[in-house]
Symmetry: C2
Subunit: 364 residues, 2 copies
């Protein structure tokens, strides 16, 4: 991994990667059935990859970005084009289909665009060469994701006190990325750095990514934690029983407003009210400079059944309606800092995010 | 009902009462199995009533208060005492057992104490007379509860705009009282007064009283509503899609700090941050002048399984810990007003609650 020479701490990735390429197929851990069942699904078409993203076989902004890369790579493999230009046309069609899978996480669009840009390389002269180059690029996206997460982990771990109780929302661990994770990657890095960390795991209704996935990862890592219902975070914050909050992001607007899993905004406001630091941890690719503010981010509304049913069991009376926004927007004023692989960004975010975008990428 | 002559609007109670006396038994709707199954359980001993309160067959502060009254009445029936003094001793023992069922709702202690005070009447000379008097008192508590709720409903409905989207937490409806309800009673009163109300129903993890019970009541009443996960309230509040919040209370300290179902504090803070009124609706008996502030209220910690299992289905990895505070405390500064059957109390609550306690009870 490229980072070893750059002085970032590197820890072994012991888990199966969340999304990876195997024998001409896109492989994904099926996150819908964890923690009961650990299963790898294999997809042979970009349409199947798009469906898997939509159905949340894979979720988490960085993992969706990598899945988009592999989805484009499999579209290239599928293509019967005999010229590079025809292959590019096929890829654009695949990109359009993949882009419709989920609207909020910008990493999806970033992954598709990066692959389209790769295909546009005028140096590509044969279809075989282009297909190989595209698979290589998808692999590169996935490898970079792990390195990026470990950098964020190192930066973020410096913000974690020696003894810390951390409130964490949703899942931002290995399963939300290719490996390591973003906000939960910071927890992992702090833990491996010898800090005494404990996590209060927001269960994260409706899909329970916290109770199902984050607790599974923390249990596997041997990190102390307790699941809490999302409404309980304030109880702990008000009593001084939590030291910081760590969350990921699905899209960060140019002004720092952050779209993330529903419930993030409530947590941010209550943390702010109790003077507890609230950190967003996300790769730089999550920052969407074309989106000026959080109000410009499309919020995905998912099916009512995610609310009215739990684990296949109807909990509400039949026929009752539910509202199910998958994400909310946390205005930047509630965010203490944004941790990226390029460093920790503090307010004013509009100025400092742009400055980091303009700066040469180095590890200061 | 006594209120009819006092000019309060009286609407028919069409539902089965939540708790009532029938043929020498305490009858309760079993709220653990709604909305799937509507079933009345019958209890013949005060120990069984205490267990039912503990297991949450019945819940909701006013309903617990009435259940305590009936529990004491059944203790009197059970008693084999041959003197009134011995009966009083038996009742004290029953009161001690009932008092241990749940620690937070003050109405429990209020109900027990009211029954003990009734038994202390020196005018009671025979055991039979005392038993009849105690059953009468328990019935009186239950009847007063309905009248009290309808008064609160009338006061509270005046705070509801003609067209209003209301966020409601937990269940505070008919099922949380003997009938009508507190916060949801206000919704009912506003609806019957012809207002165009819509309710965003916090599902209220871990026990899902909102998704299971509040939606069931609203559906039966024909009131427009949608269930939302608890973490989504801020999303609607921030976008200006909710006009007010209505919640009940399990105990109100002398300074107005309010203990209520876990998640209430988060909702209150986010409502406050968005300048949306946050109203607590509770009978005057919920105000505990012996508790100076919210920090003096004992918060019940319930079993971890309420968090790690939903509808009998394990959602978290086996062996993972959970924190499960059943209530939280909302400091009074987040509360716009407290609606009681004696009127609407506004800040400063420490002064104005005491003033209302001292004032002669009238309907000004």
């Amino acid at each position: 991994m490229a980072d070893e020479k750059q002085g970032y701490p590197q820890y072994p990735i012991e888990e199966t990667l969340t999304v990876f390429w195997e024998d001409g197929k896109v492989a994904m851990i099926d996150q819908r059935i964890l923690p009961e069942t650990f299963q790898i699904n294999y997809y042979e078409t970009y349409e199947a990859v798009a469906d898997a993203i939509k159905a949340m076989v894979v979720r988490g902004a960085p993992a969706i970005g990598a899945s988009a890369g592999f989805g484009m790579a499999i579209a290239a493999q599928q293509s019967t084009a005999t010229t590079v230009d025809d292959l590019r046309t096929d890829l654009k069609r695949a990109g359009d289909v993949l882009a419709k899978s989920r609207p909020t996480a910008v990493n999806l669009f970033w992954g598709i665009e990066r692959m389209l840009k790769t295909a546009d390389d005028p140096g590509l002269t044969t279809v075989e060469q282009a297909k190989a180059r595209l698979l290589d690029e998808a692999q590169q996206i996935a490898e970079e994701d792990i390195a990026t997460n470990q950098r964020m982990g190192a930066f973020g771990a410096e913000l974690v006190p020696e003894n810390a109780t951390i409130i964490h929302h949703c899942n931002t661990g290995s399963l939300a990325a290719v490996a390591w994770g973003t906000a939960l990657g910071v927890v992992r890095s702090a833990f491996f750095a010898g800090k005494n960390v404990r996590v209060l795991v927001d269960e994260t209704r409706p899909r329970l990514q916290g109770a199902r996935l984050t607790s599974w990862e923390l249990k596997n890592l041997g990190i102390d934690h307790a699941i809490i219902v999302d409404g309980a975070s304030g109880h702990y914050l008000r009593r001084g029983e939590a030291d910081l909050c760590l969350v990921g992001a699905d899209r960060i607007a140019a002004n720092g407003d952050t779209a993330n899993k529903i419930g993030t905004y409530n947590l941010a406001v209550v943390a702010h009210e109790n003077n507890v630091p609230f950190y967003v941890v996300a790769p730089f690719s999550t920052i969407d400079f074309r989106t000026p503010t959080g109000d410009d981010i499309e919020i995905e509304e998912r099916s009512q059944e995610e609310v009215t049913r739990v684990a296949g069991h109807q909990i509400a009376p039949e026929g009752v309606s539910a509202g199910n926004p998958a994400f909310d927007v946390t205005p930047h004023r509630y965010i203490t800092a944004i941790v990226t692989e390029r460093g920790v960004v503090r307010p004013p975010f509009d100025v400092n995010l742009r400055a980091l975008a303009a700066a040469p990428v180095s590890e200061a």
